[in-house]
């Protein structure tokens, strides 16, 4: 199962925001989208998630054209965590998490909710007003909610996806690693995860596949070691960037 983009172009007025993007996002993989500010990373996620419609090109969700799926059907296939949310009223964390419940037994949903809340260290916040939480705590709550929207992944079901737009923006280093480790656990169970990240070392450490964007185009994509090269990064970010292979840790180390 996969999400497939074929030659996607999206313009605002005459200004192209995404140009001719084609890619294959596989289930069971952690795909990381990187690129400088204004590269079109968030727009690409919005296009795949159906918030905006491309001017040309086609998007397929598990081999079905996105335009043929209504919002409810899309919501069953993929879950999205946006960059931030501001609440107008005093919803508690629990109120927010329970929004992900749509069908099935409510008590088993609650059991899952508590388990995931525990894992993401928001269990103690369940009865707190969401608006009084710190940015990082809010982000962990929203991440938990996004996970709750999709079914418990299993190796027999590999048709669901999770999209995360800068999920670690407000997180401290511990929770940053924790969040991505949890994503890995889910990809191992068959879920497809797509994350927009700014931290290149995080991308190097966790990604199965990397999409590097610049000025609305995908300039390079594929295996981590193929995309994260000094040449690619220096050109894209217009800053001298070096890449080392950290042998003891068996991963790339990216620095300026």
């Amino acid at each position: 199962m996969s999400v497939r983009l074929e030659n996607i172009t999206y313009k605002i007025g005459a200004q192209p925001i995404v140009r001719g993007a084609s890619t294959l996002i596989k289930s069971g993989h952690l795909t990381v989208i990187i690129g400088p500010n204004g590269a079109g990373k968030s727009t690409l996620v919005k296009l795949i998630c159906g918030e905006i419609t491309p001017n040309s090109g086609a998007i397929f969700l598990n081999d079905t054209a996105l335009s043929l799926l209504d919002l409810k059907a899309q919501a069953r296939i993929r879950s999205v965590m946006t960059q931030s949310t501001s609440m107008a009223f005093d919803f508690t964390v629990r109120d927010i998490l329970e929004l992900s419940w749509s069908k099935g037994s409510f008590s088993s949903f609650q059991a899952r909710m508590c388990g995931l809340a525990e894992k993401n260290e928001v269990r103690h916040l369940l009865y707190q007003n969401f608006r009084t939480l710190s940015g990082g705590e809010q982000q962990r709550v929203l991440f938990t909610r996004a996970l709750l929207q999709i079914d418990e992944p299993s190796t027999s079901r590999d048709d669901q996806y999770l999209f995360l737009d800068e999920p670690t923006a407000h997180l401290d280093i511990k929770h940053e690693l924790h969040t991505l480790q949890l994503c890995r656990e889910y990809t191992c169970a068959g879920l497809g995860v797509v994350a927009v990240l700014h931290d290149l070392n995080l991308a190097a450490r966790f990604a199965d596949q990397i999409i590097l964007m610049k000025s609305g185009e995908i300039v390079s994509q594929g295996q981590t070691t193929d995309v994260l090269t000094a040449k690619h990064l220096t050109e894209s970010y217009e800053t001298p960037i070096d890449v080392l292979f950290d042998a003891p840790k068996n991963r790339l180390f990216i620095y300026t």
Binding site: A75, F91, I96, A111
Partner: protein, 347 residues
Amino acid sequence: MTGIDSHISAEITTEKPASHTFKLVVMAFVLALSIGFALITGAVSIDIRAAIHGELSYVQNEVLQNIRAPRVLLAVLTGAILGIAGASLQGLFRNPLADPGLIGVSSGAALGAIAMIVIGEQINMPVALRPYALPIAAIFGAFVVTSLLVTLASHKRTSSVMHILLVGIAINAIAGVGIGIFQYLSDDGQLRTLTFWMMGSLGRSTWTTLIPTMFLIVFSTATLFKSSKDLDIMQLGEPQAQYMGVEVNKLKKKIILSTAIGVGAAVSITGLIGFVGLVVPHITRLLISVRHTPLLIGSGIVGGALLAASDLLARVLMTPAEIPISIITSAVGAPFFLWLVMRIRVQ
């Protein structure tokens, strides 16, 4: 693992839903009390025991059945729909200051009403239709103005909430021009009728006008209740709601139009009643819950009780004269509104 989870969930489920129900039952009891008080109190007082044993005089019976009962019922229905509509709109716009006036219901109804007051006399209409003329004109005005707002606001492919608010301000201003023109054209008698309509009164309630109004209010309430889960999800923001399967634009139309129908039906008889739609949802959020299912039910109950009590005040404060009800609701609501604005600014 599953053992631990089920243990945790058991501990959680016992905490909240039960207390919502309990609070709602308490509120319903308060509503019943205020209905009871409103029925027996007034210029003609009615003894409860005599009423139960059927020992009321002819006058008392007439007052209870044909004056007070429809009046109290209208107060409860109007308060309920204003509260429910206010809660739905605040949820939809994710704005604690939203109220039915915002989407043009009030100005539309006022425009329809004043048009009928000023030019109605020149129209030849059957006597049987006379009692319905003003309500029909008001509800028609409310519906037209609100539909115009929905059409204009959804002209752009995705209508953002801010866009709707701004269109609302413009539409209300345009309706204001129409109201002004009719006011200028009206004579002293018409102007007086209009002024009293604008200040609101539940005294115009009769069974003939109440029954159709009741149907419209029940219809719009049912539609709004069905949207309560979607309104909860809307709190995460429009894009997120869409990602979670909510047809946001359809939801907006559904809520705005059913609000217009319900509120339009109510104010077509009562005239404008200020601040109920704004204040009631806030009281209910504090007392019961921010989630829309209990919030909408609670707003209906609180709104009904509040308006029945306000109308009682309007009737007894200066018996046998009557204070226009909007003066009472505004006297309570406007300071509350100010407090709300100050509180939001501090945050």
